[in-house]
């Protein structure tokens, strides 16, 4: 299905490159999350898609049509801004009906449609209120309803949850995802919150320094990160520097059995997720002696911060899992399953769990 796609799109501000040449497709009807740390170029990319910034180079295609030079008001992609950008001088209903009224729809019909949209976002009966009378969550819903009023082909959201508190954010992530699935609209969400991206997205685009690091579904991003940046940015991981040897990797004096598709002698970095390491009595390869330095109880999770023979690491157990009961100072053995170890070419030195 032809959706939105970018061909070699880049953006420079003077001598600073905000977005390097990017090829990217947004499948029709799916939700894509642009995920990355602050300043990685994700908002610039979104603004280029919206028509609020002109790309320095490249082409933006919608359903095969080149829309690169179309101004924002011709593209009419619904957009929810980080600050919500609701018009304070209009009521809630007038905000939602804005695109309809300026588009030439009669006032009565626009109000009727605005009321229906407010019902969709569970704000029926709030139409006459002033924007200043709404809570953060309600404002976000108004912003969503307003952006959807013009029935856009592409729905853009720039950090839509950042102004909400943690609990409301979690609720709204699920709500927004359900709404997007119901409407089946191509949606792009910019976020720096990996939980938000994992919760909502069909496809995640991880970005760093204006570059795309990986494009994949959430589970693939988590379990098969393309590089150390993705492994580090998405979830937690224990990193160790090593050298590739026959049948595995040597970290310090410890040989770890794993599959490493590198030439022997290559410097590499290995990563293992805290929940994939285990402290149990099962035999097998890759057992490392360690001492418990700190136990962090998070309710549904318990983290053991260890000092092992190969360096500091974290091992994590969820409630309900069969795990050891250890205290600070206890000695233990950590098992690193070969299939759980990911091997990357060595990048920036990392010796501690992220």
């Amino acid at each position: 299905m032809l959706g939105l796609s970018l061909k070699g799109v880049s953006k420079s501000f003077g001598h600073i490159t905000a977005v390097e040449p990017t090829d990217l497709s947004f499948p029709k009807g799916e939700l894509t999350a642009l995920l990355g740390p602050s300043g990685c170029g994700k908002t610039t990319l979104l603004r280029m898609i919206a028509g609020l910034e002109a790309p320095t180079r490249g082409t933006i295609l919608l359903g095969g049509e080149d829309i690169t030079t179309h101004p924002a008001h011709k593209r009419k992609f619904g957009m929810v801004f980080q600050s919500f950008a609701l018009f304070p001088h209009y009521s809630v209903r007038e905000n939602v009906a804005y695109s309809l009224v300026i588009g030439g729809m009669g006032k009565a019909a626009a109000c009727k449609k605005a009321n229906a949209l407010l019902e969709t976002v569970q704000l029926g009966g709030f139409g006459d209120r002033r924007i200043g009378e709404l809570s953060g969550g309600q404002r976000q819903r108004v912003a969503i309803a307003r952006a959807l009023a013009q029935e856009p082909e592409v729905f853009l959201l720039d950090e839509p949850m950042s102004a909400l508190d943690a609990k409301l954010r979690e609720e709204m992530q699920v709500e927004l995802r359900l709404l997007q699935q119901r409407l089946g609209i191509t949606t792009i969400v910019v976020t720096h919150d990996q939980r938000e991206a994992m919760t909502m997205a069909d496809q995640i685009v991880v970005m760093s320094n204006g570059r795309i690091e990986q494009i994949a579904p959430p589970q693939e991003i988590y379990h098969q990160p393309a590089n150390t940046f993705v492994a580090d940015f998405i979830g937690k991981a224990n990193f160790f520097d090593g050298i590739v040897v026959e049948g595995g990797v040597t970290v310090g004096d410890t040989h770890l059995t794993t599959q490493a598709n590198f030439q022997s002698g290559s410097p590499v970095q290995i990563a293992i997720r805290p929940e994939r390491a285990a402290m149990d009595d099962e035999g097998g390869a890759n057992r490392v002696a360690a001492k418990v330095m700190f136990v962090r109880d998070l309710g549904p999770l318990r983290e053991y911060h260890l000092q092992s023979d190969i360096g500091p690491m974290i091992v994590e157990y969820a409630v309900g899992e069969t795990g050891p009961t250890l205290s600070t100072g206890d000695a233990t053995t950590v098992r690193l399953p070969p299939e759980a170890i990911q091997v990357f070419p060595r990048a920036a030195p990392k010796s501690q769990a992220a």
């Binding site: 609020l52 008001h73 950008a85 018009f87 304070p88 001088h89 300026i102 009023a149």
Partner: protein, 328 residues
């Protein structure tokens, strides 16, 4: 009981007095009240009292309690034989010039200030310092500059004539239009005296104030509001009409009213550029108080009437704004 228990404790009152802070909270309001009374209330009451005084023919004036000055302001000195509206007409021209000049200043300062807020911080600071420094020039100095620029023998009219622009205007037939507007005599364009020159100079006088008053509101304007409107299909003009202007409605109204009140008192620009029959109340007040008439009571009456008219306008503006707020 120990010896220490017998030693009487030092009274803390003295130490307390020494450390008592200066009662600034009581002094400052007192000083402010005194300043307001001395510099605002007392002069106003004095002018009010003088407005009920009586001019003595061939002499100065005496204290009195007569309403003749107010009667003269509304129906003229010849009443009841004849009604003349000269003083009301002067008040009308005060409003006429002040309204047009304040609107012109705000309308031209608005796009400039909007552009200014989109520049780099350092460039903005440079412009603001430049605009602030232009306030150091007095009205007399500015009017003198415009007087030279618009004078028939050395200014723009001469430039028009020397460059052949006057001849060209005559050839294309636009010269007659300028004559109809009072901006040309049979030989060349002329800007003195004209409403155009008066309004232009008055606008120039208050233009820096307009920028400085609008700047805080415009620099606080969230750019994502306009961007949101654009993503919803609004073109540049629609964004300005439906988002930008309504968002800064209050600062716009406030700035216009402030400039309007300021311009009601313009004296030098009107004296130099306005035709004598279009002189304003401010010019008339000066003429009565310090000029040829030496009729301080009537000058004071005109000042009071100007003040009342300005206050009425401000109240009306406030009322309209509240009505507009209520209607939303």
């Amino acid at each position: 009981m120990t010896v220490a228990d017998d030693i009487p404790l030092a009274k803390p009152a003295r130490a307390g007095k020494a450390t008592q802070p200066f009662p600034i909270r009581r002094v400052v309001p007192g000083v402010l009240t005194t300043l307001i009374v001395v510099f605002c209330v007392a002069p106003f009451l004095l002018v009010l009292a003088i407005s009920f005084g009586r001019k003595v023919d061939g002499a100065a004036w005496v204290w009195d309690l007569t309403f003749e000055n107010y009667q003269r302001f509304f129906v003229g000195v010849l009443w009841p034989d004849e009604i003349t509206l000269l003083y009301l007409q002067q008040l009308y021209y005060s409003f006429y010039f002040a309204v047009i000049a304040s609107l012109l200043a705000v309308l031209t300062a608005l796009p400039f200030t909007l552009l200014l807020t989109r520049l780099k911080r350092s460039t903005q600071a440079m412009w603001l310092v430049f605009i602030l420094s232009s306030l150091a020039m007095s009205e007399v100095f500015i009017v003198m500059g415009w007087d030279i620029l618009l004078s028939n023998n050395s200014g723009l009219p001469k430039l028009f004539r020397e460059t052949g622009l006057t001849a060209w205007l005559k050839d294309v037939g636009w010269f007659q239009t300028l004559r109809d507007w009072g901006l040309a005599n049979p030989r060349n364009v002329k800007f003195k005296t004209s409403d155009f020159a008066t309004v232009l100079t008055m606008s120039y006088l208050v233009w820096p104030y307009a920028v400085i008053l609008l700047y805080p509101a415009l620099s606080r304007l969230d750019p994502s509001l306009a961007e949101a409107a654009r993503t919803m299909g609004a073109g540049r003009w629609t964004v300005t009409r439906t988002v930008t202007l309504p968002s800064i409605r209050l600062p716009l109204l406030g700035t216009t009213l402030l400039l309007f009140v300021f311009l009601l008192g313009t004296y030098v620009a009107v004296t130099v550029f306005a035709a004598p029959e279009k002189h304003t109340t401010a010019v008339a007040i000066y003429s009565n108080v310090r000029g040829a008439n030496l009729n301080a009571p009537f000058g004071a009456t005109q000042a009071i009437m100007l003040l009342i008219a300005a206050s009425t306008c401000l109240s009306l503006g406030h009322l309209l704004n509240r009505k507009a707020e209520g209607a939303r």
